[in-house]
């Protein structure tokens, strides 16, 4: 299938995120969170999803509140700026809008589970979480004994998502991606998943990507769909493109304390907008301009001549 990976976000979500899918998102921690893709999932009313990620900032909370999610496999679900995530709390504490199954992890065990899948092994051993209630409460973090040393370890079961949705700085038409800044679990998440949807700030000619193969951390042959989506990670930051919109996270915290408030928030920012360009109109050009980098800081070119 050499051709036809470029598509709209609407098409990518329609084709590759079926109801009931498990999706890993938010793989670069607080940066590069694929909010545009998450909002499209909400608009398409996907149901019974399993969300996987180390931390998700407010994206998982939005999908939970919109009724898309039946299970979360994560280390942390909240609002990095505000603390609690109210939709998560309502789902777990009250079953609103529906009950939510939580599989609690640590950041390290999420990373190891994805790495195990990326390596093609059923589990990886670790020394974290021993004696904790996280380990006690999670059947995918079973105790084991090292066959060589006799040490007590946990066996972190491989995590194989149906879909990885990853936002990057730039990609070519075939899905070869350049990304930089902190990487979190992105590389393992891509290798661990059956399908990969890339949203990119820019689609660039293949020669741009080929000029710096060490920065090509996602090779295109692993990628299912490529979407050009400027501002696709707002309000999270994308190094070199825009900074974190801290106010947006504080506003979300203030404006989602009750279910009614959340409905208004969802209408304003997700259900009531057609697509990302409509969202950006709501955001306004001044707010976007204020988030742009204030200084240039290019890396020195690496010489690949021979």
């Amino acid at each position: 299938m050499p051709m036809g990976k470029r598509m709209t976000l609407t098409e990518a979500i329609e084709r590759f995120v079926p109801d009931g899918a498990s999706i890993v998102m938010g793989t670069a921690m607080e940066a590069l969170i694929p909010f545009a893709a998450g909002h499209e999932i909400i608009r398409q009313k996907k149901r019974d999803l399993t969300l996987i990620g180390p931390i998700s900032d407010i994206l998982f909370d939005q999908l939970i509140g919109a009724g898309c999610v039946k299970k979360v496999v994560a280390a942390w679900v909240g609002n990095v700026s505000g603390g609690s995530a109210y939709n998560l709390r309502r789902a777990v504490e009250e079953g609103t809008p529906q009950p939510l199954e939580m599989e609690d992890h640590t950041n390290f065990t999420i990373a190891l589970g994805l790495h195990a899948a990326a390596l093609g092994v059923p589990y990886l051993p670790a020394r974290t979480a021993l004696g904790s209630d996280i380990q006690r409460g999670n059947d995918h973090l079973r105790s084991t004994i090292c066959p060589y040393t006799g040490d007590r370890l946990i066996a972190v079961r491989a995590i194989e998502p149906d879909v990885a949705i990853v936002h990057v700085q730039r990609a070519d038409e075939m899905g070869n991606c350049h990304l930089w800044g902190n990487l979190g679990v992105t590389i393992d998440a891509v290798r661990a998943s059956r399908r990969v949807i890339i949203t990119a700030e820019e689609i660039v000619p293949a020669d741009v990507i080929l000029s710096d193969p060490n920065r090509t951390l996602i090779p295109g042959f692993l990628v299912t769909a490529v979407v050009e989506q400027p501002w696709g990670a707002h309000p999270s930051p994308v190094v070199g493109y825009y900074n974190r919109d801290n106010d947006y996270f504080h506003e979300y915290h203030r404006e989602t304390k009750t279910r009614e408030q959340f409905h208004r928030w969802l209408q304003r920012w997700v259900l009531g907008v057609r697509d990302r360009s409509h969202y950006l109109e709501r955001l306004g050009p001044d707010r976007c301009a204020a988030l742009r980098p204030r200084r240039k800081a290019p890396s020195a070119p690496a010489e690949f001549g021979y």
Partner: protein, 253 residues
Amino acid sequence: MTTYTLRELMVVAAARQIADEQVVFVGMRLPLLGFLLAKRTHAPRAIGLYENGVIREIPSAEMLYTMSDPPNIYRATSCADMLTVMGLLQQGRVDVGFIGGAEIDRFGNLNTTVVHADGRRPIRLPGSGGACDIASLAHRLIAIMAHEKRRFRERVSYVTSPGYGEGGDWRSAVGLPRGGPSVVITDKAILEFDPVTKEAVLSSVHPGIGVDDVLAHTGWPLRVADDLTETLPPTEEELRIIRDLDPQGFWTR
């Protein structure tokens, strides 16, 4: 005498836990400021690890809201992935790690997952993030918390981040390779742990705070050290640096 906030004192107390050239798992909020303060004072060669994969020696030039903010990427020593820094932590290369918590108990176990209060519906919290990993694997753990009776409980209702479990040699019995809480910094006091029983002991109270006040806000009969001291207040220089780092007082007012 210069006035200061209790949060500023907590930042200073955190900074004093970092020695020069140590590798520090930094965390966010007050510990992040503590790390930056230590870098600019007594620990200029300390190295910061962040669980998103960032390794930093040069302090960021701007205030950070999250560890993945672009100012924390700019002029970083290295931007790697999570397994890189978690692997270094698991190997035992991290001298000191900082975490916060919603609840802590007598043996330094921390809860950030779910609070069970008597007769009330359980309250769901965000979860571990990397806290359990840091508590499991760093050589020394520093916890930073508000000192309230509902947070300082005889037993936490859920162990997100293991401290000394039930005390004594519990950590080695369950297989944890090292570490455990070393110091708890609160807005009233500093607690340390008995080397044998691993029970928390009040070791220092902040200026202007009474021992009775600390005991009244602790949910178990807290032991008081024989050599109880008063926490050293911030110096002019430390306050100047903190206010330079956080000019609006976002974290410290």
